[in-house]
Amino acid sequence: MDKIKLTIDNTLVEVEKGTTVLEAAKLTGVDIPTLCYLKLEDTAFENTPGGCRMCVVEVEGRRNLAPSCKTQCEDGMFVSTHTPRVVNARRTVMELILSDHPFECLVCTKSGKCDLQSLAQDLGIREIHYQGEKSTYKGDESPGIIREPEKCIMCRRCETACNDVQTVGTLSALYRGFGSVVAPAFEMDLDHSSCTFCGQCVAVCPTGALIERDNTWKVMEAIMNPKKTVIVQTAPAVRAALGEEFGYEAGTLVTGKMVSALRKIGFDYVFDTDFAADLTIMEEGTELLERLNKHLQGDKNVKLPMLTSCCPGWVNFFEYHFPDMLDIPSTAKSPQQMFGAIAKSYFAEKMNIDRKDLVVVSVMPCLAKKFEAARPEFAVDGDPDVNVSITTRELAQMIKSANLNFDALKDDDFDRPLGESSGAGVIFGSTGGVIEAAVRTAYELHTGKTLEKVDFNELRGFEGIRSATIDFDGLPINIGIAHGLGNARTLLEEIRAGKSQFHAIEIMACPGGCIGGGGQPYHHGDVSILKKRQIAIYQEDAGKPIRKSHENPYIQNLYKEYLGAPCSEKSHELLHTNYFAKKKKIEIE
């Protein structure tokens, strides 16, 4: 590598060719402020439009200030990051951005977590000298995501997430000049657009322009209603991230405190989505084996690879973008919906509660789960299997609103029977986890042998597309894994072209899987946070006495008492679903 030397704020620094001034400055201990800039290491996400101009610096010999995020170091360059000219420019541009931003900080969802707010504070803005007209747009309150375009600062992070990373293509810049904003085409509602509600736009939005639909009050209303029995399920990825909202180091498992908090908030039963994840493995694993066997017997009507279907963002994606391939994903519902279906049948019957008086709340790392819960096919006579879905962030909010000292909470256990899970259910929260869980069960069901080693390290990792071949006692099973919808698209296009060699593929819409979901605490661009959550998930798995779904005694009991066998008629009725081709629908209002 070619090395070059340059001077930044009178400090000589040596960097590799191709390094930006922003990166080089970091090496000298100078954090040049950024706003639109965001790079997620080890993912396809790179947003460097050079648009906010917060990172401008003075480069000797250049007429204008240079954006350090887009300026490559040159040998002998002389850079100043903190001259009066630079400081005045940054402050003035920040004042400009604020002059076209609502002053709602006190009541804004993003307050305290807002990149714009914190940068304005860092710059010490106390007065906005340039006031004038503010832009107004049509807002949007869709089931998963709320858009408040007045708060959009045109950083384009969401656009990068939606187009470059997820290849969904819903969000893009509209109009021009002062009126420009990022929105779906024609400013249509996200509901009517190609949006998958994966929430990655929300995960990277620096302001409150894109936020989740807040369902916390709906939950409180249910809890406060004496006629209702309110139960809650928590997704695996939540426990690995919730602590961050209370100042814990990323990757701290707070399962026990979370259960305790939920109980104190007033839920009647605190259950675990991991239980339903085990159930999913029973159904999906059995389905995979059925398909595989038929395929091996030469049945041409059976399509392989089979794709996982637990990620609702992913389901929305293929329904919209690959409507010709609806027969490829597993028909198994997602753990959230399996939980809802079992809770409102098996559990309700067992407890003798009318399903209409049973309120199922889910705590998810996800915004698409809100959309999924509201799908009409997941309701009986208008009563949804999952009534309300909230995110990890909303749960943290509820805990704070309930005046609970999270730190002081004692660890507590989930309730039975829907709270017991295997380690296989836990790893659903990470990319590669669902398929690893499925392999643990499918291997034993297929071969009749006991697995010596349950850890399949070859399936774990963070690369966007991974593959591995697992030896099913002489039968090589090719497995593909993709996280991020852009990566999913790559695999799907291979399948469409008839070039896929895989038997099974796991797909997660978000980077890292659910641990990087759109409803998780904000990572502010720090991918190491996601990786720490991932480690925590595998750690919880390793600590579980039972690590295979089919060994979960409560699952075995459920089949014995209620469902019969995996993929039985009753299972199909409750635990499987159909997919619908979504047409591109453009409505211009």
Binding site: G50, R53, N64, P67, T92, V93, L96, Y130, E133, M154
Partner: protein, 597 residues
């Protein structure tokens, strides 16, 4: 081939067509037939002659008679008198405004005397829809010469030596730009013609494309040969339908003649050209935005580097040049670098086409040698200020440029001098202002334009220009404070210093240059609430002189808002709270009893 005895050239540029030049062609052709001289007379539609002030233009050849402001009704007389009887129609000849003498040959008109036409050499001369006329004027000979006699390196060397600089505004040396693209190794390269002319009042590129499209096609092919590209793209705004149509015709004709396509002139060189349409965004004149737009993306600039010469259209090396730059290239190849370099100043060679507009007597399209002074352009070519008013300022470089004043009139026009004077060459807009133009309003006018045309990508341009506009608006409304002037200057400097592309980096120029050159006007607006030019209506008051008012009540009757009251035959009064300053009363008053204060 039967030789034409007489040719009638009728301007068929957009401007003259708007003044019914098509009908003139029709009527002349018909009269020619009726007079039975159609065997001897050919009527030809040409591109723009430049003297738009006096359009539509009809020129008779071979006696070189230049008829101005011709209407379709004049056709019959022109044919019967000039063509049949050989007598000039005096009343349609140009009249020298000073001597009142009728001038029949355009080269004796002040408007043309100081012009040198290189880029416009064929405009108003050939029929742009006929490739044969272009070929007859040595068309495609430069391409032939380059392909058979010169290497790409030598051709680029010749361009460098000629000193040709980009005519789109930046003034980057054209040869050097080509060399940058040539040096990059790639399997596919592109050359692009930037025809996204968008400054208010500018029509240089449009006129060239309408009047001489082949010169651009030929130069693009030369560019392709030199840089190693076999595909050319012309990015043109869809609002230029006539230019688009003529380009299409020209491309098809060039293909038919084998001058575009495979194995051109048997040399093994392949080159073809496609047209891409822009939706008319000013920012798409910026080359990275232009490339994005051609790729079907939002027309937004990217941060340079990488420059298009490395990563351009579809990530491939791309050379972008402006229409006028291209039009200069064939003559340079044929006549030599020394010939071109002999015209102009030390650092700016050749000529520049300007769209002369505003308060001058002769509005039009002119091509003048670099180094000519503003005074010569405005007073000799432009014929001075309209209605005998006093010259105040001239805006060069359109919304990106600045205003120049009396004290700049004698500096030789070239890229560097204009920048040193606080303005820029730009693509060639030149708008002249007189004493009745308010400089604050002028700056506001340009900001209005840039606010509209900003793409919105970077914060300083998106919001800063809007705030600049609002401050200027506040000042013209008489609500500005001295602090606002301070804010205005700081904001203008920051927008200039921090914007992502040339649009925002130059949009504050009209503000800064008017603040520098006319500080007293800004101060008068904020300190005394006065607009001395009388343009800011909010700062004006229409007042009735008591002693001059006869009480005729005419003003009362025309006032649309009933702001005037008074008894018959007594002096009247204007209620300033109601008055909307439309000026109708002053216009109607027969006794000059109403004045503006």
């Amino acid at each position: 081939m039967a030789k034409d005895k007489i040719q009638v050239l009728v301007c068929s540029g957009t401007g003259c067509r708007a003044s019914k030049s098509d009908e003139i062609v029709k009527n002349i052709s018909q009269a020619v037939i009726e007079n039975d001289i159609d065997k001897d007379v050919q009527v030809i539609r040409t591109g723009c002659f430049g003297f738009c002030e006096k359009g539509p233009i009809v020129k008779m050849v071979p006696d070189n008679t230049f008829y101005v402001q011709v209407s379709p009704d004049d056709a019959e007389e022109l044919v019967a008198e000039h063509l049949v009887k050989g007598r000039k129609v005096e009343r349609l000849l140009y009249e020298n405004p000073e001597t009142k003498e009728r001038i029949s040959d355009s080269k004796h008109m002040d408007f043309y005397k100081k012009q040198i036409r290189i880029a416009l050499r064929n405009c108003g001369f050939i029929n742009p829809e006929n490739i044969e006329e272009y070929i007859a004027k040595d068309g495609y000979m430069a391409l032939g010469k380059v392909l058979t006699e010169l290497t790409p390196e030598k051709t680029i060397g010749l361009l460098i030596k000629s000193g040709l600089r980009g005519r789109g505004g930046g003034g980057f040396p054209t040869g050097l730009k080509w060399e940058l693209t040539r040096k990059v190794k790639a399997e596919q390269k592109y050359v692009v013609c930037n025809a996204d002319e968008g400054d208010p009042g500018a029509f240089m590129d449009r006129s060239i494309l309408e009047g001489d499209p082949h010169s651009v096609l030929e130069a693009m092919a030369i560019n392709g040969y030199c840089t190693g590209a076999d595909r050319g793209l012309i990015y043109i705004r869809a609002e230029y339908p006539l230019a688009i149509e003529r380009l299409k015709i020209a491309i098809n004709q060039a293909r038919e003649y084998g001058l575009l396509g495979e194995n051109i002139m048997g040399t093994g060189f392949n080159f073809d050209i496609e047209i891409r349409y822009g939706a008319g965004a000013f920012v798409c004149g910026e080359e990275t935005a232009l490339i994005h737009s051609m790729e079907g993306l939002r027309g937004e600039p990217g941060v340079k580097p990488p420059f298009p010469s490395e990563k351009g259209y579809k990530e491939k090396p791309t050379n972008v040049n402006n229409v006028e730059t291209y039009a200069n290239i064939p003559p340079i190849i044929l006549k030599g670098a020394d010939w071109f370099a002999s015209i102009g100043t030390e650092k700016s060679k050749g000529t520049k086409v300007f769209a002369l507009a505003g308060k001058v007597n002769n509005v039009g399209l002119i091509e003048v040698p670099m180094g000519i002074t503003l005074r010569e352009v405005i007073f000799d070519i432009g014929g001075g200020i309209k209605d005998g008013k006093k010259f105040k300022a001239v805006q060069t470089g359109g919304p990106s440029g600045g205003c120049l004043t009396e004290k700049h009139l004698d500096i030789p026009i070239d890229y560097d001098n204009l920048i040193a004077a606080g303005s820029m060459m730009g693509s060639g807009g030149m708008i002249v202002m007189d004493e009745s133009d308010c400089m604050v309003s002028m700056a506001k006018f340009y900001l209005d334009f840039t606010v509209e045309e900003s793409c919105g990508k970077c914060a300083p341009c998106r919001i800063g220009n809007k705030r600049l506009y609002e401050l200027l608006d506040k000042i013209t409304e008489g609500k500005g404070t001295e602090e606002d002037l301070f804010k205005l200057r700081n904001l203008a400097n920051v927008v200039k210093d921090t914007s992502l592309c040339g649009l925002g980096q130059t949009s504050p120029n009209p503000v800064l240059s008017t603040m520098d050159n006319f500080p007293e006007e800004y101060e008068a607006h904020v300190k005394d609430s006065k607009c001395h030019a009388g343009q800011c209506t909010a700062l004006m008051q229409y007042i009735i002189k008591e002693d001059a008012c006869t009480g005729c009540t005419l003003c009362v009757r025309v006032c649309p808002v009933d702001a005037i009251s008074g008894e018959r035959k007594m002096a009247h009064f204007i209620n300033q709270d109601i008055c909307i300053k439309c000026g109708a009363c002053m216009e109607k008053c027969k006794f000059d009893a109403i004045y503006i204060a």
